[in-house]
C-alpha cells in the first residue's frame, strides 16, 4: 500500500514538473515580439509572405493566454509538436525516428556505467589500499577529469582508426539498426557506450567505494560477522544494501547530466539520434524541433527520476513515509 501510494504521489509531482517545464519553454520562446518568434519558427531564409502565414497559422497575433492554451492543447490532446521547417516532417515523426538510436546509447551506456562503477567501487572498498585500489582511484580521477567529447575523440584516434586500418572493421562509427543484426549493432555502439559510461562510472566508483567503506565500519556489520556469516554474504547482503542508498539517490540527480553526455556522444560518433538532431536544429534555428526535443528530454528525466525514486523506496523503507 505504502509503495503504491508513493508511486502515485511521485507521478503526480512528475506531471507538475512537466507542466512547469512546458510553461517555461512556452514563456522562453513565445513571449518575445511576434515578428521575432515568427522568424524563428519560419527559418532564416523565409520571405515576408511565409512569415505572415506562420503568424496566421500559429495564431501568434492572438493574446498570450490563448496562445498558451493552444500550445498545451496541441501537445496534450493532439500530440502535435509542430513541423520541422526544413523537411516539413512532423516533429513527433522525427522523434520517433531518432528514439531507437538514442535509446540504444542510453540503455547500453547506463548498464555499462552502473556495472563498471559499482563493481570497481566494491572491489576497491573490499581491497582498500591495495595496488588495485590505488590504480582504480587514479583511473577514476582521470576519468572524472575527462570531458566526454575528448574521450570520444581519443577513442576514435586511438582505437577506431588503427583497428580499421588493419582490417578489423567490427568496431564502427555511425549507426546500424538492430535489424542489421545484434553483432553489427553492438560494433557500432561499443565506442559510444564506453565513452558515455566511463565519465559517469568514474564518479560512481568513488561514491560506492566511499559509501561501502563507511557502511562496513558500522556495528551491525560486526554483528553479522560475529554470527559467523561468510564475508561474501556480509558484504552482499548486509553491507551493500545500506551502501547503495546514497548511490541510488545520486542517480536521480545525474540523469540530466548523463543525457548531456549522450548528446555529445551522438555528435562525436555521428549517430543521428535526438542529440545529434537537436544540435543540427540549433545550427539551422529550427525552433519547432528544439522545443519538441526539450520537452522529450524533460519527460525522459522525469520518468527516469520516478524509476530511481521507486528503487530508492524499495531499498530504504524510511523514504516512503516522508
Amino acid at each position: 500500500m505504502g509503495l503504491v501510494w508513493f508511486l502515485v504521489r511521485r507521478i503526480l509531482t512528475g506531471i507538475v514538473v512537466l507542466w512547469i517545464v512546458a510553461t517555461g519553454t512556452f514563456l522562453l520562446f513565445f513571449t518575445r515580439p511576434v515578428a521575432v518568434v515568427a522568424r524563428g519558427l519560419a527559418g532564416r531564409s523565409a520571405t515576408p509572405q511565409v512569415i505572415a502565414e506562420v503568424i496566421r497559422n500559429l495564431g501568434l497575433n492572438l493574446p498570450l493566454s490563448e496562445q498558451y492554451w493552444h500550445f498545451l492543447v496541441q501537445i496534450v490532446w493532439h500530440h502535435n509538436l509542430g513541423y520541422s521547417y526544413y523537411s516539413q516532417q512532423a516533429v513527433t515523426t522525427i522523434i520517433a525516428q531518432d528514439l531507437p538510436i538514442t535509446a540504444s546509447v542510453v540503455v547500453g551506456g547506463v548498464v555499462l556505467w552502473l556495472i563498471v562503477g559499482m563493481c570497481v567501487g566494491i572491489l576497491s572498498a573490499t581491497r582498500a589500499r591495495t595496488l588495485f585500489d590505488r590504480t582504480a582511484t587514479l583511473a577514476v580521477l582521470a576519468g572524472y577529469s575527462m570531458p566526454t567529447f575528448v574521450l570520444g575523440e581519443l577513442l576514435i584516434i586511438g582505437v577506431f582508426l588503427p583497428l580499421n586500418e588493419h582490417g578489423f572493421d567490427w568496431i564502427q562509427t555511425g549507426y546500424a539498426g538492430l535489424s542489421t543484426g545484434v553483432i553489427p549493432w553492438m560494433g557500432h555502439m561499443i565506442l559510444p557506450w564506453v565513452t558515455v559510461a566511463t565519465v559517469q562510472a568514474a564518479i560512481y566508483t568513488r561514491l560506492s567505494r566511499g559509501s561501502l567503506l563507511d557502511t562496513m565500519g558500522e556495528d551491525y556489520i560486526r554483528t553479522a560477522r560475529a554470527k559467523g556469516l561468510s564475508e561474501r554474504r556480509v558484504i552482499l547482503r548486509h553491507g551493500l544494501r545500506a551502501a547503495l542508498t546514497p548511490v541510488v539517490s545520486q542517480l536521480g540527480i545525474d540523469i540530466g547530466y548523463f543525457l548531456g553526455g549522450v548528446i555529445v556522444v551522438e555528435e562525436v560518433f555521428s549517430l543521428p539520434g535526438l542529440g545529434f538532431d537537436s544540435v543540427q536544429a540549433i545550427e539551422t534555428s529550427n525552433l519547432p524541433v528544439i522545443i519538441g526535443f526539450v520537452l522529450v528530454a524533460s519527460v525522459f528525466v522525469v520518468v527516469a527520476n520516478i524509476i530511481v525514486d521507486m528503487v530508492y523506496a524499495v531499498l530504504d523503507p524510511r523514504v516512503r513515509i516522508a
Binding site: 582521470a142 567529447f149 575523440e153 566511499g210 543525457l259 555529445v264 537537436s278 540549433i282
Partner: protein, 345 residues
C-alpha cells in the same frame, strides 16, 4: 556554558569578519601547512599557476611568433593540399589548424576563455549557492520547503538541453555561456550549505549569539558562514574543472563561445574532420583541457584532505599502515560536486 565562555564566543564571532580571530587564522595556517606537505597538491598548484601565466601572456607569445590568434597563414600554415602542417614546421610550435592558424597561440587564447569562464562562474555559483543555502537552512519552514524543492528541480534538469534552447534563442556568447553555467552550478553548493546550516544552527554558540541580540542575517553570515568555509572552498575548487568542461562542451557543440574566438571546445570540434591527417590538432587541445581539469581536481582533493582533521584520525584508526593522502580522501567520500555532498550530510 558559563557567561565568560559566552562572552568569549560572542567576541570571537564579532572579530570574525576582520580576519577570523587568532583561533581561526591559525586553523587556516595549519591547513595551508598541511597542503604544502602534499606533493600532489603542490604539483597541481604549480600546474595551475603556469596555466594562468600562459593564459595571461598569450598576446606576448603571439607577438614573439608573429602569429595572431585569428590570422590564417595560407602559405606557410597549410600544405599544398590544404591540410594543416605538423608541429615545428615553419615556426608553428604545435602545428596549425584547418585554415593555417597557429594552434599553440589558439590553445593559449583558449586557456583564457576556459580559465575565465571556470573562475567567474564558480565565483557566481559559490556566492549564490552559499547565500541561498544559508537562507534555506537557517529560516527553515516554508522558505526552506520552496527553496529545497527549487534546488532539487535545478539539479535534476538536463542542463545541456536548456543550454541548447537558450543558445537557440539568444545565440551563443560569453555572457550566455557564463549565465547558463552559473545557473546550473549553484544548486549543488546550496544543497550542501543548507544541510550544514541545518545542523549548525542548533549549536549552542548560535543560541548564545541570538540571546545577545544578533539578528538572523548577522548570525547567518558572521556566525554560521565561517564554519562552512572549509567545505565551500573544497566545493569551489572542484567546481572550476566542472565549469571548464561545461564551457568546452558547449563550445564543442557549437553553442558556446562564437567563432573566431578560440575555445578548447571549438578547436576540438573543428579537429573532428582532420583525425586522419593531423593528430596534433586533436592531441594538444585535449591535453591542455585534461591537464587543467586534472590539476584542479587533484588540488580540490588535496584541500579537502588538508582541511579535514578526520584524515589524520582515519590514518590512526587504520590497520597501522600510513596511507597515501589521496586514498584517505576517497575514504571520506568521492571527489566532485556530487560527492562532497557526503561531507555535508
Amino acid at each position: 556554558m558559563t557567561v565568560s565562555e559566552m562572552q568569549f564566543q560572542a567576541r570571537a564571532s564579532e572579530s570574525a569578519p576582520t580576519g577570523g580571530g587568532i583561533e581561526g587564522r591559525s586553523q587556516w595556517q595549519l591547513t595551508w601547512r598541511r597542503l604544502l606537505h602534499d606533493k600532489v597538491a603542490v604539483a597541481s598548484m604549480v600546474v595551475i599557476v603556469v596555466m594562468v601565466l600562459l593564459a595571461i601572456t598569450a598576446p606576448l607569445f603571439a607577438s614573439i611568433t608573429h602569429h595572431p590568434a585569428d590570422m590564417p597563414f595560407t602559405n606557410t600554415g597549410t600544405t599544398s593540399t590544404g591540410a594543416p602542417v605538423g608541429p615545428g614546421t615553419h615556426g608553428f610550435w604545435l602545428g596549425t589548424d584547418y585554415i593555417g592558424r597557429d594552434l599553440f597561440i589558439r590553445i593559449l587564447y583558449g586557456a583564457r576563455i576556459s580559465l575565465f569562464v571556470g573562475i567567474v562562474t564558480t565565483a557566481i555559483a559559490t556566492v549564490a549557492g552559499v547565500s541561498i543555502g544559508l537562507i534555506a537552512g537557517y529560516f527553515g519552514g516554508w522558505v526552506d520547503a520552496v527553496l529545497a524543492r527549487f534546488i532539487d528541480t535545478i539539479l535534476a534538469f538536463p542542463y545541456i538541453v536548456l543550454a541548447l534552447a537558450l543558445a537557440a534563442i539568444f545565440g551563443g556568447s560569453l555572457t550566455i555561456v557564463i549565465g547558463v553555467i552559473s545557473f546550473f552550478s549553484w544548486a549543488g553548493i546550496s544543497r550542501i550549505v543548507r544541510g550544514q546550516t541545518l545542523s549548525l544552527k542548533e549549536k549552542e554558540y548560535i543560541e548564545a549569539a541570538r540571546s545577545l541580540g544578533a539578528g538572523p542575517w548577522r548570525i547567518m553570515f558572521i556566525d554560521v558562514l565561517p564554519n562552512l568555509m572549509g567545505p565551500v572552498l573544497v566545493l569551489a575548487t572542484l567546481y572550476i574543472p566542472t565549469a571548464v568542461i561545461f564551457e568546452a562542451t558547449l563550445s564543442f557543440l557549437g553553442i558556446g563561445i562564437p567563432e573566431p574566438t578560440p575555445s578548447w571546445g571549438s578547436i576540438l570540434a573543428e579537429a573532428q574532420n582532420y583525425y586522419t591527417v593531423a593528430w596534433w590538432y586533436v592531441v594538444f587541445p585535449s591535453a591542455a583541457l585534461l591537464i587543467t581539469t586534472l590539476a584542479f581536481n587533484l588540488l580540490g582533493d588535496g584541500i579537502r584532505d588538508a582541511l579535514d582533521p578526520r584524515t589524520e584520525r582515519i590514518f590512526a584508526a587504520g590497520k597501522g599502515r600510513r596511507r597515501r593522502r589521496r586514498v584517505a580522501g576517497a575514504v571520506l567520500g568521492p571527489a566532485g560536486p556530487a560527492s562532497v555532498a557526503e561531507l555535508g550530510e
